[in-house]
């Protein structure tokens, strides 16, 4: 029994121990010290802050470049779902947030490298990014709010736009739009900082009389797809004469003694200050001008009286230039088409086929000169200092400048000079005679002393003792906008040296006085904001 017991013990130990007795035991695991996990970081966008509300398509520039490995690719993802791919640096992605539900979304940038240094994680995520940048944005559908715009101008040099700050959480930028001459608005600038609520426009602001309209929209996205418009504000460039009227007739007329500018509108004679364009006075022209006839405006030598002559009805009003009180109302016995004031009691009327001198105190004809068929005057100008009338006349098929002495109610031709053309308009400026704006004569010698070389048609001109201003057609191009028809006002000194040039929208007539040029609006132009015209300053 003892032997059997020992045998069983031997068998038991043998069967138990045999399988465990082996040379090949389980080794230690190889530990990979070169494997490391992906690096997670919070990403700071260039233009967005984590948690910011965004809308529409947003532009994301991924420009992190402090990797210690060669980047193979970047895959951005929204809520873990990859939406793009790039292998170029910097990586620019465009994300249309409207493709996702409103709310918080995690934006992830997964940066991959060629090598796979992330060990076992590759078994469960292949490929695995080496660097992961994350940030959360809120995709918001709330429409942007409306800002209120106001304009301030620094006298034609710049227009300053001020608006109220937007409270929009999805604010992306302010979009500034500009419209010229009532045409469509065009985007001219973008302000990306919500706290900046001012913009100064200095581009193309040298077209006097032009209407510039602005609006500031708030957009929520990079593509400017979603916008809310502000109110539209208009600014008309220039220093205007403002008067409520419906129909413009004539003006401006300058009175250097009173420093006033006169306009005839709506059967009213209106005066303004030439210093600051301030409205001064007005009189009603009913009785002088009942059917919208043209009125001849003339000042006496002292500039103390204004003569308004209706050559259609032969009515003449003499008005005190200081307070616009009517001094005298006269019905001249004969018709004329141009009137010259010789003195306080006499006027010279340039009639059709006849020269007349009237005494307006007695309302009698002082003298009359019927003109022969071969003496055809075109235009005339009075030298108030000598009471000599200079007449552009065609005699024997040639054009002359005759000097007529009317001092003693005579019509004696005391001098005559050659004129190279028929002149429709002559004006005296100092000792020079400007004929149709281009040809310049010495008023004493009747010798030509100058010529303004301009091929463009001269619509109107005005002279002073030392200067001449021309009004011509022109075009104006504002960068980024369509071409606009306009006028050009050019100022010369009496030596025909160009002093200054302005661009004017819809000019009609000019008056030159002091250090300003006064221009009316085109009477066919629809008045805007009751503007009669503008004063253009050229010196101190």
């Amino acid at each position: 029994m003892t032997q059997l017991k020992n045998i069983f013990c031997i068998i038991y130990f043998g069967l138990t121990l045999f399988p465990s007795c082996t040379l090949v035991t389980e080794p230690e695991r190889f530990y990979n010290h070169n494997a490391y996990p992906p690096e997670y970081s919070v990403y700071n966008f260039d233009e967005l802050k984590p948690g910011q509300h965004v809308d529409g398509t947003i532009k994301i520039v991924f420009n992190y470049n402090e990797f210690n490995y060669k980047v193979d690719a970047v895959r951005p993802a929204v809520d873990g779902k990859v939406f793009s791919y790039s292998d170029l640096m910097p990586y620019t992605f465009y994300l249309n947030t409207r493709n996702y539900p409103e709310g918080n979304h995690k934006i992830t940038f997964n940066v991959y490298q060629n090598a796979k240094p992330h060990g076992l994680l590759h078994l469960i995520a292949n490929p695995l990014p080496s660097s992961v940048f994350e940030a959360t944005l809120y995709f918001d559908r709330t429409p942007p709010d409306t800002v209120h715009l106001s304009l301030v101008s620094d006298k034609d040099k710049e227009i300053i736009l001020n608006w109220t700050e937007s409270n929009c959480e999805t604010f992306y930028s302010y979009l500034i739009y500009k419209s010229i001459d009532g045409n469509s608005f065009k985007h001219i600038a973008t302000v990306s900082d919500k706290s900046i609520t001012s913009y100064t426009d200095t581009t193309g602001l040298d077209l006097v009389g032009m209407s510039y309209k602005y609006k500031v929209n708030v957009t929520t996205d990079y593509l400017f797809k979603y916008q809310t418009e502000s109110n539209v504000e208009e600014y008309i460039l220039g220093d205007p004469f403002i008067y409520e009227f419906t129909r413009f007739f004539s003006g401006p007329f300058f009175n250097e003694k009173e420093l006033q500018i006169y306009f005839i509108v709506d059967n009213k004679f209106v005066s303004f200050s030439s210093v600051d364009n301030r409205y001064i006075n007005e009189i009603d022209l009913t009785g002088l001008r009942d059917n919208n006839e043209f009125l001849e405006f003339t000042l006496n030598k002292e500039k103390s009286k204004i003569y308004l002559y209706n050559f259609s009805t032969n009515k003449l009003w003499v008005i005190n230039s200081s307070d616009l009180s009517v001094i005298k109302k006269v019905n001249l016995p004969e018709y004329g088409r141009e009137l010259f004031v010789l003195d306080n009691s006499r006027v010279f009327v340039f009639g059709s086929g006849v020269f007349n001198i009237f005494n307006i105190d007695t309302n009698t004809l002082e003298n009359s000169l019927p003109l022969s068929y071969n003496y055809i005057p075109s235009s005339a100008v009075l030298n108030e200092n000598t009471l000599h009338l200079i007449i552009n006349v065609e005699k024997n098929n040639s054009w002359r400048l005759d000097v007529m002495d009317v001092t003693n109610n005579d019509f004696n031709i005391i001098d005559s000079g050659w004129a190279n053309n028929q002149y429709l308009s002559m004006k005296k400026g100092g000792d020079k005679l400007y004929c149709d704006a281009k040809w310049i004569y010495d008023i004493n010698t009747l010798k030509g002393v100058g010529y303004i070389n301009s091929d463009d048609y001269i619509k109107a001109f005005s002279v002073s003792d030392q200067k001449i201003a021309l009004l011509q057609d022109d075009k104006y191009i504002t960068p980024g906008f369509d071409e606009v028809l306009c006028n050009k006002i050019t100022l010369f000194d009496n030596q025909i040296n160009k002093i200054k040039e302005w661009k004017l929208r819809c000019g009609f007539t000019l008056a030159l006085g002091g250090n300003k040029v006064f221009a009316s609006i085109d009477r066919n132009h629809i008045p805007r904001k009751n503007i009669l015209g503008f004063s253009l300053k050229f010196g101190e």
């Binding site: 032997q3 020992n6 045998i7 013990c9 031997i10 130990f13 043998g14 121990l17 045999f18 399988p19 007795c21 082996t22 040379l23 090949v24 389980e26 080794p27 230690e28 695991r29 190889f30 530990y31 990979n32 070169n34 494997a35 490391y36 996990p37 090598a115 796979k116 240094p117 992330h118 060990g119 076992l120 994680l121 590759h122 078994l123 469960i124 292949n126």
Partner: protein
């Protein structure tokens, strides 16, 4: 060392049970023998499969896997019962067990990835042996065994990532049977308390299904005691 202590205890226990064996006076007796040895495996298909698996994972996932053991030589254990029907010839009957393994064990910050493979081989053989007792000091012997064989083949893959957040265990096991033919030669030496044998053998193995080239070469060291009739 643990195995050697067990073996020492085991062998000495026979001394209590059985009287001393002596080849000069045996006459139809039974003997019992215990062997331990080394088995040198071929197993080339298995080695190639394991290498391919490791290389594929290593290449695809950039894991620097290493093959730490690839079915190396391993200890074998066997036992025999003898029946000497003449002083020089005997019948031999006995089991044998051997095994080997392959390992690729990997670890990094994220977890562990283990590839393991094991083969367990069980033999039950019967054969005939001839001793050349005329030789002095050490007596050579030759023999041949025929036997049945059972192969138990297991592969396991264990993945543990982020402290068990992701765990994956795959394993498969084959059990195949066959037969074997073993030829061997050796030497015996009488150490009074028993007879020590040193045997070298080559075993041809034929399995029914799996093709793993299971032939092997063996060196065995054993001690034998006899039971007198």
């Amino acid at each position: 060392m643990k195995n050697l202590i067990i073996l020492f205890f085991f062998i000495n226990s026979f001394g209590v049970i059985f009287p001393q064996a002596n080849y000069t006076n045996f006459d139809h007796f039974f003997g019992i023998q215990l062997n331990t040895g080394l088995t040198f495996f071929n197993l080339n298909p298995l080695k190639n499969d394991f290498k391919s698996s490791v290389e594929m994972v290593s290449r695809n996932y950039n894991l620097p896997l290493q093959i730490q053991h690839l079915y190396p030589t391993n200890i074998s254990w066997s036992g025999n019962v003898f029946w000497y029907f003449s002083p020089e010839f005997c019948l031999v009957l006995g089991p044998e067990y051997t095994s080997t393994r392959a390992f690729s064990m990997y670890e990094d910050y994220a977890g562990t990835f283990d590839l393991k493979s094991e083969i367990h081989q069980y033999y039950l053989s019967i054969g005939v042996r001839k001793h050349f007792n005329d030789v002095k000091i050490v007596q050579p012997l030759i023999g041949v065994n025929f036997g049945l064989v059972q192969f138990n083949f297991m592969n396991t893959m264990d993945l543990n990532v982020n402290n068990g957040q992701i765990k994956n265990h795959n394993s498969y096991e084959y059990l195949d049977n066959g037969y074997s033919i073993e030829i061997y030669t050796g030497l015996t030496y009488d150490i009074k308390i028993g007879v020590v044998e040193l045997i070298a053998s080559y075993r041809y193995v034929k399995l029914e299904e799996i093709l793993i080239e299971p032939d092997n070469f063996n060196i065995k060291l054993g001690i034998k005691r006899g039971i007198f009739k």
